[in-house]
Symmetry: C2
Subunit: 250 residues, 2 copies
């Protein structure tokens, strides 16, 4: 995970310890934890002990640390995480059952997409997203929706680049990306045509809070050539509206 | 959430701030936060500011605090939370599609059940669990499985009571509960017959890690009188075994 500026000394160090964990680092020895946190072994030993006592970390029989269930429980109270996901899930499941394709729900955090839910389609093209995982805003269906409705400074930051290339069709030209974002706002949905992998097309639509602000995006990811984006967009727009309405009853 | 012993002064106070949030308290003013954490306003103001900077908390336009997406992201790395859920989800969805009943996945934390996933059935009896929510070990289908396979001291703590009563059929007699737990171990599945609500029956089965230890439980919750527990148990046992096998490939 990306580092942020540390805060007060003790709390800041504890947060560095939490940051040491990642999708490919879910279980760490004390030494690995100290190295990844950039902190002395003795400090990590003491703070990790406190975090284990509270349940933010767990320690297995072999002495390896992992993120604890209690931190997951507190995290599940995040309105933009599990809160959003709980409201949206019935509609995501409907989309999945109707299309048998990959369904994704995501929010923006800074200049990145964070995936809040994904349902893998039973006859769908493989996708490599992970719940809680991050991705560039500039390439995916959900990312283009979130970027098109992001604050001006976030848009400029991403467009100012460098824009990561995933395939030959990834849009990395600032002018072309600007045009694409304008299209997303005009059409009400995004199309990412083989911009992430050579075999996938995704269509995304915005989810709005009661004040009309875009707070999340939903997408379908299909194998390129099997369905057109325009065939998918009405279904996706109607699901996105249904989820937006479900958020109002909060 | 239940309080634990605070740790070092700064980290302990930061954890008290996180503990102030709960299912019915997802959004708090600074004053509410200070009152629920039992800390001075100035301390909470400073620490909450640090937690907002890191992303563990978020602050909305009206100044209310909630749990931040970044804490949810780190929490999603907990092997017993989202890790388990990701492995189990395809099998839970199969159970849901085959039965159209409520499907639940849970782990034990101390002397309580924590629900890691639930899929509400389209024609199912209403259940009141919440992902990330807690419940007594002694009454539900998943709880009876987890209790039957819990360490001796946890079993004695729960059996030693007091055992909470939810309906006239909740088993609160220590001897009867001991017998019921022995039956769970003998039969390989649990039956909670209207022990939580007057209209629901749930059947639970254990999920084991590669070493054979019970690490989670899966259950179906159906309306009482529509399906017998013995009709559900083979399906549930086979799903629980499939999930156990999926954990091996970790």
């Amino acid at each position: 995970m990306a580092r942020r500026a540390p805060t007060g000394p003790v709390l800041g160090r504890a947060l560095l310890i939490l940051e040491a964990f990642g999708p490919r680092h879910t279980s760490l020895t004390l030494t690995e934890l100290a190295r990844r946190a950039g902190l002395p072994l003795s400090t990590v030993h003491r703070l990790a002990g406190e975090l284990v006592t509270w349940g933010a970390l767990e320690r297995d029989a072999g002495g390896r640390y992992s993120v604890g269930l209690r931190l997951w429980e507190v995290g599940s109270l995040a309105p933009r995480g599990l809160g959003l996901r709980e409201r949206a899930l019935p509609y995501l499941e409907d989309l999945s059952r109707v299309t048998h394709e990959n369904v994704q729900l995501a929010v923006r955090e800074g200049a990145e997409v964070v995936f809040v839910e994904r349902i893998a389609g039973s006859r769908a093209v493989p996708v490599h997203t992970r719940v809680g995982g991050r991705f560039a805003l500039s390439a995916t269906g959900v990312g283009l929706v979130l970027l098109a409705h992001a604050p001006h400074d976030v848009q400029e930051q991403v467009i100012g680049g460098p824009i990561e290339r995933f395939t030959a069709r990834t849009v990395t030209d600032p002018k072309a990306l600007r045009r694409m974002l304008a299209d997303v706002r005009t059409n009400g949905f995004s199309v990412s045509d083989r911009q992430v992998t050579d075999d996938a097309l995704s269509v995304g639509a915005p989810i709005r809070d009661p004040a009309g602000a875009v707070v999340a995006a939903v997408s379908l990811v299909v194998r390129y050539g099997t369905v057109s984006a325009h065939a998918l967009s009405p279904l996706l727009l109607s699901s996105a509206r249904a989820i937006s309405r479900a958020l109002e009853s909060r």
